[in-house]
Symmetry: C2
C-alpha cells in the first residue's frame, strides 16, 4: 500500500479508503498536531453520505481529535512540542463578530470554519478532518487536554461532550435540579455523566427498557421508559431541564409535558422537523430550545472539569481499516457509546 | 321580554340568547360588580362552540369585564362602592402552590378557576362570565382600572392586553430592542402598542400588505410582509424577540429565522400543532416559547402602565342583542380590533 496520511470518501456512496492529503505549512499562529486518536461521530456518516446536501468530496471526516503538538508557529504562546491537545468541530472563525466576541464561535456570524468540509482559507478547497495522521490548526482553536485521563476516551468529548455540556451549563443545571436526558447514545451517555457530575437528580428517558441498567451505571438516578404512559404521567411537570439528544425528527410533546413551568427542553440532535403542540408550551410557559456544540472557552472548561472529575467517554477502539464496518454499526446504534480510531493504525 | 341578566349559548350550535343566572351572595372577601362593558374574545367563540371539547352548557362567555363596585364583603380592604374595576380570565386559584406564590395564578398547579366554564366552588356547577349584568369575584382577582382612560376601550386589556404584555415583560423587551409582532388582530394590535410604548423598534409581521397602514398608525416602526421572501431575507437574524399572536397552527420556521442568536419567539395564540425545524433552533441557540394570559399582579401593572401612557384597545361597540353577528365577524377577522359589548344594553 502507498504511504497515505488519511482516509476519505470520494463520493456519497463510496466507502472510506486510503487517501493522501496536503496540510498547510504552519503560520505564525498555527499548531501542528500528530493525531493519536479520533472519535467517530454520527455526523461523520451524514457528511460522508451527503445527507445534509452540502458535502464536498473527497470527505476526510473526524472532529474529535486528540494528539501531541509536534510544531508551533513563531507567535504561538500557549502550546509547545509534546503538549497533549484536542481539536473539535471548528478550526477557525472571524473573531470579530458578536458571537466570536462572546466566546461562542460556533455561531460566528460570518460562518465558522468546520474542521472538515469547511472552506479552507489557506489552501483553497475545503478542510480535511481528523481521520488522518496530522492536522494544522490556528492556536485559538486548540484545546489543552488534561494528562490524567485515559487519552483515547477523551476524543469524543470534543464533540459529543461539548454538545451536551454546553446546554447543561447554559441552562444552569445544578445540585438539586431534576434533569432528564432523552436518548442513550454517543451524546446521551455524556449528558447523563455530566448532569450527574453537576449534582442533578438525573433521569434517563428512553424507549428501551434494555438500556436501564447501563444508564444507571453511567450515573442516572432513575430511568423513565417513555413508552410507559403511567410512568410518564407520574413525572408530569417535574423536570427543571431536559436535554434531548434524539438525532432525528420526533414527537417532542410527551417530553414537553414532563417540564415544570418555565422550564426548557434543548434539542441537540434533531435537525429535522419535530412535532410540537403550541398549547403544551403556552400552558406552562415552557420553552423548546436548540444548542450547537459549544464555544472554545467552554470546551476548555469542560475538559478541565473532566480532568477534575475523572470523566471520559465509554468507547470501543478500532483501527482505521475497520472504519466502514464501524459506520454501519453506528447507524444501527450498535456501539457503547463511541468508536475511537487509533490513528497510529494508519501506518499498518 | 322577560327581565334577564345574562346571555348564554345552550349548546354548541346555538346562538347566544337571553338567559337568567344566579350570582352567589357575597362572602367576606368578595366584591360585587355591576358590569358596564365586556370585550368579545375569540376564545368566547371557541368555548361557545365547544372547539376545545371542554365546554359546559349553558355557556355565559366574557372575560374582559369592566364595571363599578356595588357591594363589598366585610373583609374587603382595597375596594369600595363606586370603584372602577376590571375582571379578566380568572376569578380564583388555590393561592398556595408555587405558581400562585410567584404571582402567576394562571399556572396554578391545582387549576385556576376560569371566569366562565370554570368549576364554581360556591354554587356548584360552572362559572358564568361577563356577558351579564353583574358578577361576584374574590377581591384578590379584582383589578383597579385607571379613571383617566376611555373605560369601554379598557375592557380588552383584561385578556388581549395582558396576553401580549406578559411575554413582552417576561422577555424584558426594552428601548432599542427590535421586536416583531406576528399577526394583526385583537392580540396583535395590543402587542404593537405595548412593544412601541416600551421603546422597542417594533415591526409588524403580517401576510397582508393591506394591514401596513393601520399597523403604523398603531405604533409599528416597520411592516414586514412575511410572504415577501426578499424582505424576509433582509431581516434574517435581526430580531431580539418575536411575539407570535397567530391563533392557529402554522409554520413557525420563517419567523424563527428572523431571530438573533439566543432570541425567543413566544406563542400566545396557537394552541395547535405548529411546524418547527430542530435545526432552526439549534443553529442559533434559539427558543420557541409559550405564554398564557398573565398573573393578577402583572395585570395590575399593565393597567397602571396603560393609565400612565394613555393606552387602550381599538374597539367597536355593540349591544348584547347583536352578539351573534359580532361572533360571525370575529371569525372573519372583520373587526378593528375588538368588539366591546355595552352591557347596559341588556335592559333594552
Amino acid at each position: 500500500m502507498k504511504n497515505v496520511n488519511a482516509y476519505a470518501a470520494k463520493s456519497n456512496d463510496a466507502d472510506l479508503e486510503p487517501f493522501d492529503i496536503e496540510r498547510r505549512e504552519i503560520l505564525a499562529n498555527d499548531v501542528k498536531i500528530e493525531i493519536d486518536y479520533c472519535g467517530v461521530c454520527h455526523s461523520d456518516i451524514h457528511q460522508v453520505r451527503n445527507d445534509w446536501g452540502n458535502s464536498k468530496y473527497p470527505v476526510v471526516p473526524g472532529h474529535e481529535i486528540i494528539g501531541r503538538v509536534i510544531e508551533v508557529g513563531k507567535d504561538v504562546k500557549n502550546y509547545k512540542e509534546g503538549d497533549l491537545v484536542g481539536v473539535g468541530c471548528m478550526v477557525d472563525s472571524c473573531q470579530e463578530c458578536k458571537s466570536c466576541k462572546d466566546d461562542l464561535e460556533q455561531y460566528c456570524e460570518n460562518g465558522m470554519t468546520a474542521t472538515y468540509n469547511g472552506k479552507d482559507e489557506h489552501l483553497g478547497g475545503h478542510t480535511f478532518g481528523g481521520y488522518s495522521e496530522s492536522i494544522v490548526v490556528r492556536e485559538k482553536f486548540v484545546l489543552k487536554v488534561p494528562e490524567n485521563l485515559d487519552t483515547k476516551a477523551v476524543a469524543p468529548l470534543l464533540c459529543a461532550g461539548i454538545t451536551t455540556w454546553s446546554p447543561l451549563r447554559q441552562w444552569n443545571v445544578k445540585k438539586g435540579d431534576k434533569v432528564g436526558v432523552v436518548g442513550l447514545g454517543g451524546l446521551g451517555h455524556m449528558g447523563v455523566k455530566f448532569a450527574s457530575a453537576l449534582g442533578a437528580h438525573t433521569v434517563m428517558i428512553t424507549t428501551s427498557p434494555g438500556k436501564a441498567e447501563d444508564a444507571k451505571r453511567l450515573g442516572a438516578d432513575e430511568v423513565l421508559i417513555s413508552k410507559n404512559e403511567d410512568e410518564m404521567k407520574k413525572h408530569q411537570g417535574t423536570f427543571d431541564f431536559i436535554l434531548n439528544t434524539v438525532p432525528v425528527g420526533h414527537d417532542t410533546n410527551p417530553y414537553v409535558g414532563l417540564l415544570k413551568r418555565d422550564a426548557t427542553m434543548t434539542l441537540v440532535g434533531a435537525i429535522d422537523e419535530v412535532d410540537i403542540h403550541g398549547g403544551g408550551l403556552i400552558m406552562g410557559r415552557k420553552r423548546l430550545a436548540g444548542s450547537l456544540i459549544g464555544g472554545i472557552k467552554e470546551t476548555q472548561e469542560m475538559l478541565d472539569f473532566c480532568g477534575e472529575h475523572d470523566i471520559v467517554s465509554d468507547i470501543e477502539m478500532i483501527d482505521i481499516q475497520n472504519i466502514n464496518d464501524a459506520f454501519d454499526r453506528v447507524v444501527k446504534s450498535d456501539v457503547k457509546y463511541r468508536f475511537v480510531i487509533d490513528m497510529k493504525s494508519i501506518k499498518k
